[in-house]
């Protein structure tokens, strides 16, 4: 029970992820069956659908946009602030901040991660590890979207008696950019609006919110 209490956020969202992915698999399969029967193709098996490029591209296009959103948010908020938002730091801290404030090198405490006081490239890598991993997963997911996307796109092209396109050409198609941009716009809207809403609105007890009684002008204070 202690494990569940201490890892509630990860466990809760992990279970939601699996439930939603399962739901997407069933809904996506039903949608594909309908489209295949309409265009004169055969009804695919469910497990074959799970290994298909159609399912892969639908999963990957959402993954890449989520990781892009958090990657950009993590990096942009080093230099950009939103005065009054608990998601922002105060103007005096804009930038990478001092080694003392970041507790690196000789300023690292006894319980600091090894690479925080190792110095050199290890401290530089560890200092950027969150952005590197989130950005790396974004690029990998976007690559997967493009590879699965060209496969699904070409299957549709052939079903409509049209020529398939090579991967490099697919990167310039409306299908690829429509899939990417329709996800990006919603992510950017959600994260930008949350930063601004949190200046004026409160959610009692949430670390994503300021304390209910905090002034609208208060920045960098979670409650």
């Amino acid at each position: 029970m202690k494990f569940l209490r201490d890892n509630g956020v990860g466990v809760f969202f992990g279970l939601l992820f699996l439930g939603a992915l399962g739901g997407q698999a069933f809904a996506g399969y039903a949608d594909l069956v309908q489209r295949r029967l309409a265009d004169g193709g055969a009804e695919p098996g469910f497990f074959r659908y799970l290994a298909s490029s159609e399912f892969a591209v639908d999963v990957a296009e959402n993954w890449q946009s989520e990781y892009l959103q958090f990657f950009l948010y993590i990096i942009a908020t080093v230099w950009l602030i939103q005065r009054g938002s608990p998601e922002s730091k105060p103007p005096r801290d804009i930038g990478l901040e001092s080694d003392q404030k970041q507790q690196v090198g000789s300023h690292a405490g006894p319980e600091a991660p090894k690479w925080a006081h190792a110095g050199g490239w290890r401290t530089r890598v560890f200092s950027n590890s969150l952005g590197l991993v989130m950005g790396g997963i974004f690029l990998l997911s976007w690559l997967v979207q493009s590879v699965a996307g060209v496969s699904a796109y070409n299957a549709d092209q052939l079903a409509m008696l049209e020529d398939p396109v090579p991967w490099a050409e697919y990167l310039g198609t409306a299908d690829f950019w429509n899939r990417s941009l329709q996800n990006w716009q919603s992510e950017f809207l959600a994260i930008g609006s949350m930063a601004v809403f949190s200046v004026y609105l409160r959610q009692r007890g949430s670390p994503e919110s300021k304390p209910v009684g905090a002034a609208h002008s208060t920045t960098d204070e979670a409650g």
Binding site: G41, S53, F55, V147, S151, L161
Partner: protein, 133 residues
């Protein structure tokens, strides 16, 4: 970091599924279906060729030509040159023969012809003498 390992493993599996469309066994299955179709045309065995059409292509053919596929197909003079190139994407494929472009779809009982006697029209779909898409 176990979380990122899971992500990388899933991403690799997804990448593999994207590339699975070009597996050799699929290409061989498409090639043998196309070989059987052009072989039947070359021998004048229209009945065998008709059995290799997708259900929709066959229905369309029989709706347009009341005399039935086996008789009508012989009058279409479809090219019967040998298969040269095969391209497979998911449950659909394109085959270039010496004188034609064929389109195929995959069914439980194998690959079937959904377009034959096809000529390109630029950005438009191919114009096919025989089609079921």
């Amino acid at each position: 970091m176990p979380g990122s390992r899971v992500v990388i493993a899933v991403a690799a599996a997804v990448l593999a599924s994207g590339c699975a469309s070009v597996s050799n066994s699929e290409t061989d299955s498409v090639r043998s279906a196309a070989d059987a179709f052009v072989g039947a045309l070359a021998k004048g065995d229209a009945k065998a060729a008709c059995e290799l059409l997708t259900p929709k292509t066959l229905r369309r053919m029989e709706a347009l030509r009341p005399e039935g596929c086996a008789i009508a197909l012989g009058t279409l003079k479809l090219p019967s040159a040998a298969v040269r190139e095969v391209e497979v994407w998911g449950d659909a494929a394109q085959v270039r023969t010496g004188g034609d472009t064929l389109f195929l779809r995959e069914f439980a009982h194998g690959w079937r012809i959904s377009g034959a006697g096809c000529t390109p029209r630029g950005d438009q779909p191919y114009d096919c003498v025989l089609e079921g898409s």
